[in-house]
Assembly symmetry: C2
Homo-oligomer: 217 residues x 2
Amino acid sequence: MLVRMPETAEQRPYHHGSLRAALLDAAERGLRERGADRLSLRDLAREIGVSHAAPRRHFADRQALLDALAEAGFVRLGAAMHAALSEGDGDGGDDGGGGEREFPTRVRDAVSAFAHFATENPALHALMNAGKHRPGATRVAQAAASAFAQMYDLIEEGQANDTLRQGDPEEIGIILYATVQGITTMVNNGMIDAARLDGLIDTAVALFLRGARPPGR
Amino acid sequence: MLVRMPETAEQRPYHHGSLRAALLDAAERGLRERGADRLSLRDLAREIGVSHAAPRRHFADRQALLDALAEAGFVRLGAAMHAALSEGDGDGGDDGGGGEREFPTRVRDAVSAFAHFATENPALHALMNAGKHRPGATRVAQAAASAFAQMYDLIEEGQANDTLRQGDPEEIGIILYATVQGITTMVNNGMIDAARLDGLIDTAVALFLRGARPPGR
DNA sequence: GAAACAAAGTAGTCAATGGAAACATCTAAC
DNA sequence: GTTAGATGTTTCCATTGACTACTTTGTTTC
């Protein structure tokens, strides 16, 4: 038996069912297309087809939505870096004795994944670094820390390898992270032509590895 | 003879005389105190004591004001770096045979000036890097390029010194600039404790100089 | 020195927004 | 089955950026 839908009156039930997810989804698109500034709760509600006050049931206010977006961004960034670090070991074609890639290559891959994530999601990257998050936005900070931890681990790996000199791995990790951060910000800014990204990343990584290698080598 | 001012009717002339400057001034304060997001043209007008439409005579719209702030920020940043690089030669107390500082010290001073400017003006720094400037905001880009040029020159100086290896000075300069940029962003973010700033800058500069020194040395 | 004119400020209006309150509807637990 | 809580709706308000028409002031030109 067919359930006939009235032509004008839509069949949409009173409750959307997954408004929160729909909002985040639409917000992400809006963020990408128009930037955080021009992201309006009412616009999102309209787009989804829900009343303008409905979003407030899921996000206390506009900033809460932005915080959620930033948090999701850090999670995705962490995943991208993780993927870059874990895949590639037995990368596609020639399996067999592949073994692990060299440490410098691993650094380059992780950093490159970060850089491309940032430049492919400029508005999101800006939002993640906006630092305007709520006083109590622990979730954002935590997601950021989690993504950052991979850089930290990588440094420790290099130190264990004797490819990097000893020293506070967090400090060294911050510097590498910050360098990529800065480069991508400048690319997203327009201060640097996007075409130079890969070259800059390569140079930066090479420079970093030389600067941070153990004294004797 | 005393000029008596009416108690209620103010003596302020019809024309403010320097509204543009007053707006920029108030805006800079507002930016510092409440961030770019909560900077309202009407608020500024109220604070200055002028009608809400008056600012439009001087700034086509809100973004134009923000652009002007960013431009001024880059000018000030450039000046701060310039001061750090030119002063200090015969720095205060013991004059006499002072002479020029060592290149590494000069790099550290310039970078440190940049870093402190950025962390002492977090909202301004964010605005300067927001990259949401008008399509035709050449002035902002130009001011930024001008500030950046000093980093460029400094690299060339190091190369002439044979303290830095050869290579595109712009590329190397970008990397150093980006590193400081990233560190300060993370400090302003809250991702890094502000107390670590100087230590991080020192480490970053040392790491950079090691990484970029000529092959043989 | 007066008239024409441009510059700078004012007042009023509009649509959009975020936020809040009061009310409606669905769902789940008892 | 009723009731409580979650989720949506409607209505309302203050604020904001932007626009238009008008007024005041300062300057240039004759």
